[in-house]
């Protein structure tokens, strides 16, 4: 049986729906940026906290523990790390021949990443 599309084609509503590939691309970019910023801030914060030469700076950084204990910061960071890692794996796998549906892959990865973020939020909520 031919796999040719039947005529007439179904009506499309392309302009009404979100481009899932674009969502995936932007999320991957956003989460990558979050990770880079985290690493930079983390390195600087550790230097301030532990290097004796920066003790004066440490005294001024009273806001640092407050930021570090923000649950939403942890949630965003966990989501970013999990999403970026899994989506990166997905890209690698598809490029070496694994057939993965882009929609299912995206929403599965979003679900897993959200679960990590939610776990962090719930932990702070005492659940």
């Amino acid at each position: 049986m031919s796999s040719a599309l039947p005529l007439p084609r179904n009506t499309t509503r392309q302009a009404d729906v979100a481009l899932q590939g674009e969502i995936a691309r932007m999320l991957h970019r956003f989460t990558g940026t979050v990770i880079v910023i985290f690493v930079l801030v983390h390195v600087i914060a550790q230097a301030v906290l532990h290097a004796p030469a920066l003790a004066a700076l440490k005294a001024q950084a009273s806001w640092l523990p407050v930021v570090q204990s923000q649950h939403w910061v942890h949630a965003v960071l966990y989501f970013s790390i999990v999403f970026h890692t899994l989506y990166g794996f997905k890209l690698l796998l598809t490029e070496i021949g694994f057939a993965l549906d882009y929609r299912k892959a995206l929403w599965s990865i979003v679900s897993v990443s959200s679960a990590f973020a939610l776990r962090e939020l719930l932990r702070y909520a005492g659940v």
């Binding site: 005529l7 084609r9 392309q14 674009e22 598809t94 490029e95």
Partner: protein, 233 residues
């Protein structure tokens, strides 16, 4: 069976004649018609009753020729297939130069296609009779060859916008020949030359393709050949 209702839609069309206008402008029109009107029906109605100087193009009206591709609310679509919206902003397909209103200049596209030499490059002369080919491969080639070259995927592709990448449609055409048993051309090399590695692998082209093809998969197949070997060099 329910009766079809009429709806009134507002279409804002980008008007521009590079020979006469200093800058593009948008003109608003209202069209009343059946609720299942396509965008092309709206444009044709505007041309017939409100703006006889509106330039647009179409041919088959059944989603087979790709001629009526345009952007609706910023999204590239085939106008003959896309349902009309209550509010529409209709623009010519990007990133191609505009000839007038909704008509774009396809000479650059034709030039690129010519440059790609999209006919099998053979070791020996054609035998003069049909060459045997497996049914599965024939079906696959037939399917890949159903690309309309409407350029909807090229218009939607974020990599085309940001990087030196010809676009998904051209990669699909090259992949079609890379899979063709009679072709001996270095299609992987051509794909690399035309920016195959710049693709984000985001599958936007797969989602918008009016022929339900996956140019992204064609690119992934090329990349697999590149990374793991297996393609013709």
């Amino acid at each position: 069976m329910s009766e079809m209702q009429n709806v009134t839609v507002t279409a804002e069309i980008r008007r521009y004649d590079p020979g006469q206008d200093a800058a593009p402008r948008y003109e608003r029109f209202q069209v009343t018609g059946p609720e299942n009107m396509r965008v092309l029906d709206v444009v044709r109605s505007i041309y017939e009753s409100q703006a006889p100087d509106l330039a647009y193009q179409f041919a088959c009206r059944i989603g087979r020729c790709g001629t009526c591709a345009m952007r609706v609310n910023g999204r590239p679509v085939l106008a003959c297939q896309e349902r009309c919206k209550p509010e529409m902003r209709i623009e010519p397909l990007t990133p191609f130069p505009v000839l007038r209103d909704l008509v774009v200049d396809r000479s650059e596209i034709e030039g690129r296609l010519e440059q790609l030499a999209l006919a099998p490059v053979r070791d020996a002369a054609h035998p003069g009779a049909p060459e045997p080919i497996g049914a599965e491969l024939a079906a696959k080639l037939c399917r890949m060859d159903s690309c309309l070259l409407c350029m909807v995927c090229v218009s939607a592709c974020p990599a085309v916008d940001q990087r030196a990448f010809d676009g998904p449609a051209f990669m699909l055409k090259l992949r079609h020949l890379a899979e063709h048993p009679a072709d001996r051309g270095n299609r992987l090399g051509q794909a690399l030359e035309h920016g195959m590695l710049e693709c984000f692998n985001c599958d936007v082209c797969t989602q918008v393709c009016p022929a339900d093809l996956s140019p992204a998969q064609a690119i992934r197949d090329f990349r697999k050949d590149l990374f793991l070997g297996g393609g013709r060099s």
